[in-house]
Symmetry: C2
Subunit: 609 residues, 2 copies
């Protein structure tokens, strides 16, 4: 086994046969951990995002956060009910792409797919960056290594996912439940303690007057709490059978948990007069007030860190699945369809990791720079998906279709309104970038499909195909021309010629003189071992091996029409990989030059040193 | 012409034929600029390095810098006279490697070569970092981009050198002469103005008592002035004929300029009571005192910046030449021997740039961290070279050999003493690293030579070579087995089979089922177009194409001993490079797996889309 194979096996475990596939399903408690960490973790910052906008109008208006949070919870109820309809109608997985494409047509489907793709990548970036930012504010000495720590976390999650779905599920169960328990303990203890704040909140100056726009901005900021809600409906097939029923139950549990945690934190922040400050999160302020500076406070912080980092995992469960759907429909490279050694879409996992890592490096791990881009994609897909469901009910007219259509219609209208609010209030801060990126990604999808379409046209077997090289009957005599590249007269060359003799009857040996050849000596050596084959020595005034050879081959091929010419290249295979550095990598350039001249048959004869 | 070719032509100019080689020589004024910028630029920091050590014993002892500088100038005289002997004795270029190897034997030669190699890389790193540090202290807003600016400077110098020797000479003439003139104007104006300092020097506290060790440390620090002196003797062949005479004259001019500038600056620093401070160089302090804060001061600073950056160019003239010598003797990869499109050793230039860039990134462009490593290598090669010259004169006994032997003997003794001083006084600060690196590089040289030696042994044509595949007479009938890889039944496969039919009479077509093949459908399609060739469908429970195929081929080859088996792989060639991303890169993994199984003949049949 090679070093690479051993390393791979150690990192991700032994290969699983395809027949093991059906076992890799999730129970409800595990699925909740795997598919909901994104949605649940957003309670760690959603309240703060609302307060952060409201405080511009002074600390006096912070009380508005409670009605705003209630509005978002109302939105959550509508979206949850909508998605329950989707799961029922699409028991094999009803992602926004599938639903929009089937019901609204190709372009809305691709729009939804593009929006989701971008949002999955942003989820990884934001979650990891926020988690590491929490860590570095707890341990300031780690701050200079923010980018490195983010990349390390990405590698860690990628490896966990490459090991396979169920194992990664196991890995993520504990932190998710620890977080949920911590937050509920925080809320309960806070409620029991009563309403008196232990510290007096600072009085913040008024920077903007309170306006409808400001309230809408605060609402839009709070909508980050909604990211990740759609994950369960995309991942129905990951559940134990009966898949759709389990998925619906999980969605309900998740929304209940999310709503109550969000409401609890916002309520406590209100009654305890928490004001958003730099360097300490709202949840951390609540923790200090309620638990004091002891063990429970740090436990809460650590749980928050872990779930934020693991929230990225939701995307790792969903992005590769969406990518494989798109690849199946030829909108993405078909490599994304292949399941790897551990029955997961390895290429999708690697692609997601790469893109997220690039964003981390570009934004230097700074959450604030990325947050405004977030949520636009989510609400694009919410809207398209719900609108698609309305069409679906009108078309199928299943039992109870009217109720479902009303629920999904309401969902579509509400999410359209929210989408408009988000784009218009966050446009200048960064949402504009996403409104450019989504159409760009759709365009890439279409280009890729055009390529595959053209290719399959070119490859079709038709009557006319064989005009260039007519299908031969089985022939018995060799009547075949070949060119052999001679670097020097040695065993590698001689054995390559032995091979060439066994397939060709018209053989030309070619040596390129890059101005350091002793021509008469090489000619003499050649004649002493292979007197019957002519050796042609070509000049190369510009010291390139590639150019004169590809020219010669081109002319040779023109002189032999209606037949295949074989170009034989002797290649050394060294014992160790590093020994390759000691040899010219000319063959690589040679092959691409021969390709440019449309040479067709390139044979390498390996010589093992 | 491909995009890459056009880009290359634009960046480095059109290819030059080998016949243009002799024109690419340097006149004395140009050679002085190209080969001396390293040595001359060191006056920008050498005085400061001395003062920096002396000031530890308080500002009272700074006057000692003048006798120390005089000592270094004495050393310069000895080394210059020594190298004049070397140039006479080795008119085709007498680098330390050549001289030490010819006269002292293989290992001293390699030791000298390793020392020089390391020093060339350090010269690039130190010069670029010092130049950019000067720039960023003048324009502090650029400071955060130190590493990026250093890398940009390396790219700039590398491109200039890739364009060819004479053109890069032209590029560097102006800054070198501007620097020389600026420094002399500074010294002259300073001397004319008289001795009264316009500012009162700060009184520095005594941190260490004055000791012989401290004086030796100051001397060792000042020896950075000597780096680059050997460049001319290495580059004799770059001069116009008569090469050795022109080289000797240039060496004399350079040493004269270097000595007088160094002495002048040290003298002025003494009489004007300059004390080294952070954030401003000694030369900059002198400039402000003498020219005031006006145009001439900034002119001097810019000239200093430019020559520091360009000093790196000395290594670009010499490192590739040394590397090509070592490659000729098989101690370095033979690619370093090849002259590129513009008649320069392109690979050497690229390698040097890469290594220097790595050091810049590792040390984050911080000069102080690298300076202690510097000069160890230079004095190692000085010593070995002069010792070699003594042996040379004793062996050849040419006219006047006694005088030459005495001069070189003196040189050898003096440089050995200085080498000992440098290593012992700078050991803790970083010289230890170089004393590990030099033997390591020698070890790499030896490993590389062993590889080439073994290879040429394996490739030799002897009686016994043809036992495995006996040399065939010209045969006329096809008797040859082949395996064809079938991805699907389409034109690419059919044409590859057409080719296979023309060279083989025993053909097996193989398809790998990675669990997504409709087996009966592909079997049926195949039989309808190629009924006479069997199609074998292999299971791949772990969804790998590579593993079952390479196993099958291995068994097929075992079943066909004493003959060559051809493995035919149909390959799509896409119209645009990016379209390759849309196809599996399986062929790459396949080839390396086949290599692991020691399959010998791999034929790709290209199908142009």
């Amino acid at each position: 086994m090679s070093f690479y194979s051993r390393l791979k096996r150690y990192a991700i475990g032994p290969s699983l046969p395809t027949s093991a596939a059906s076992q890799e399903r999730l129970s409800i408690p595990t699925a909740l951990a795997v598919l909901s960490s994104d949605a649940l973790s957003s309670v760690a910052y959603a309240t703060e995002e609302i307060l952060h906008v409201l405080v511009l109008a002074g600390s006096g208006v912070l009380g508005l956060s409670l009605p705003i949070a209630l509005g978002i919870i109302g939105l959550l109820v509508v979206v949850t009910l909508s998605y329950r309809q989707t799961i029922r109608a699409y028991p094999s997985g009803g992602g926004a792409y599938t639903v929009a494409r089937e019901n609204l047509g190709l372009y809305p489907g691709l729009l939804a797919a593009a929006a989701l793709t971008i949002d999955y990548i942003l989820t990884v970036t934001v979650s990891i960056a926020a988690g590491i930012a929490a860590l570095t504010s707890a341990v300031p000495s780690l701050y200079p290594f923010t980018v490195e720590l983010c990349l390390l976390a990405i590698v860690f999650i990628a490896l966990a996912n490459l090991r396979g779905l169920r194992e990664s599920g196991r890995l993520f169960v504990v932190p998710t439940y620890v977080f949920i328990v911590s937050i509920f303990v925080l809320i309960l203890v806070g409620l029991v303690q009563g309403n008196s704040p232990t510290t007096i909140a600072p009085n913040m100056p008024v920077k903007e007057s309170l306006s409808v726009f400001l309230i809408l901005r605060a609402f839009a900021a709070g909508c980050t709490a909604m990211t990740g809600v759609e994950a369960i409906s995309n991942g129905v097939l990951a559940f134990h059978p009966p898949e759709w029923k389990n998925a619906r139950s999980t969605l309900l549990i998740m929304s209940g948990l999310l709503g109550s945690m969000f409401l609890g934190i916002t309520y406590l922040a209100n009654v305890r007069q928490i004001v958003p400050v730099d360097g300490q999160t709202v949840v951390s302020q609540l923790g200090r007030q309620i638990f004091g500076n002891g063990f429970f406070y740090y436990f809460l912080q650590i749980a928050t860190l872990l779930i934020l980092v693991l929230a990225a995992n939701t995307s790792y469960a969903d992005f590769p699945r969406l990518a494989s759907l798109l690849a199946r429909d030829r909108f993405l490279p078909r490599q994304l369809m292949l399941q790897g050694d551990r029955l997961v879409f390895s290429n999708g996992i690697l692609l997601l990791s790469l893109l997220a890592a690039v964003l981390i490096v570009v934004f230097r791990g700074n959450v604030n720079a990325i947050i405004p881009l977030y949520a636009v994609g989510v609400f694009t897909s919410f809207t398209l998906s719900q609108a698609g469901m309305v069409r679906h009910w009108f078309r199928t007219k299943e039992r109870g279709w009217r109720t479902s259509a009303v629920i999904n219609g309401l969902g579509a209208i509400v999410t359209t309104i929210v989408f408009t609010i988000i784009v218009s209030t966050k446009f200048v801060e960064g949402a504009w970038l996403v409104t450019i990126l989504i159409p760009l990604v759709v365009w890439i999808f279409l280009i890729i499909r055009r390529h595959y379409h053209r290719m399959s046209e070119r490859l079709q077997i038709t009557e006319l195909n064989h005009d260039r090289y007519p299908l031969r009957p089985q022939i018995d005599t060799i009547s075949h021309p070949a060119v052999l590249l001679v670097g020097g007269v040695h065993r590698g060359t001689i054995e390559a010629l032995d091979y060439t003799r066994s397939i060709a009857d018209e053989i030309v040996a070619v040596h390129i003189d890059v101005n350091n050849t002793d021509r008469s000596s090489i000619q003499q050596q050649w004649e002493s071992v292979e007197p019957d084959i002519p050796l042609i020595i070509l000049d190369s005034p510009y010291r390139s091996i590639v150019q004169p050879l590809s020219e010669f081959v081109h002319n040779f091929e023109i002189a032999h029409p209606h037949t295949f010419c074989t170009i034989v290249i002797p290649v050394f295979v060294t014992r160790h990989w590093w020994e390759n550095l000691l040899h010219n990598q000319t063959i690589w350039f040679l092959k691409s030059a021969l390709r440019e001249n449309r040479s067709r048959i390139i044979t390498t004869v390996e010589y093992y040193l």
